[in-house]
Point group: C2
Chain length 144, copies 2
DNA sequence: GTGATTGCAAATCTTTTGCACTAAA
DNA sequence: TTTAGTGCAAAAGATTTGCAATCAC
């Protein structure tokens, strides 16, 4: 029952958000969501589309990623200076970043216990708490 | 006794890190460190330099910010997609980001209690834990 | 002097945008 | 048809780099 219905799955996901199921969007949705939780950059996603034989322009990739992020279907993760990651896991969770490679891993929310938070600036409300564990491969030289 | 020795302060800080005290670097160090903890972008810092009557090219601003970050005198804070902040506070602490304005505030390390952390990926060691509280001004409309 | 530092302009990289063309409803 | 979506190429921003001129030692 579960799995093996990639087409209807992708189609439903688009319709649910009022997006026309075009050839490009269907392909991107499949690439994004048929493989479990992932973190992709626009560039990576275009590479995967090309590898899958789907021609999609970078502009459309960006448009789609932004539309999905606005709709709450993707989540943008900002951990590196010049580049945005898009996370297919939109539930409450955190991240481990391997600094030398840029690899990102999810950390389930309940694996991090935040038992105290500071007072917020007056007139503001909390939207989200991001915890990022920056790690290096053990043999890495910080100065290299 | 404290304060009012901006020149020697800046000079010492440069010498300590083996950087020649050029006119530009002395001016930037003063702008950065004579005013308590701050978060600046390269662009902002150039604006301040200009306002102070010091002509420094953007390339030199970037070079200096990067040299200082490498030396551990500044810390790079990555919380927004296209832009890097440089933090004069290099001690263990976290941040509040007001999403609508890009304003950053320090959160002392002891105002956040992390009582549990996940297992790290095999072969990695923890470099730093960043906690970012993303807040909005209360009247902000998330969809606007 | 000699090597480090600077500034400019050009280059790079990621992301966005304008607009004519195409496809979905 | 009518409107949304796509792709291209150009534009926009932030940051880096090559190289000749300048400065610190």
């Amino acid at each position: 029952m579960i799995g093996n219905r990639p087409f209807s799955h992708a189609l439903e996901r688009l319709k649910r958000h009022g997006l026309r199921p075009t050839r490009q969007r269907l392909a991107l949705v499949k690439l994004l969501f048929d493989r479990g939780d992932r973190h992709v950059t626009a560039d990576q996603l275009q590479g995967e589309a090309a590898a899958a034989g789907v021609r999609v322009s970078l502009a459309t990739i960006y448009n789609t990623l932004n539309q999905f992020t606005a709709a709450g279907v993707l989540r943008e993760v900002i951990v590196e200076a010049g580049r945005s990651y898009f996370d297919t896991n939109t539930s409450d969770h955190h991240h481990v970043l391997i600094e030398s490679t840029g690899e990102l891993f999810d950390v389930p929310a309940d694996h991090v216990k935040l038992t105290a938070l500071p007072a917020l600036p007056p007139g503001t409300s909390l939207r989200r708490v991001d915890v990022i564990l920056r790690v290096s491969r053990q043999q890495d030289n910080p100065a290299s």
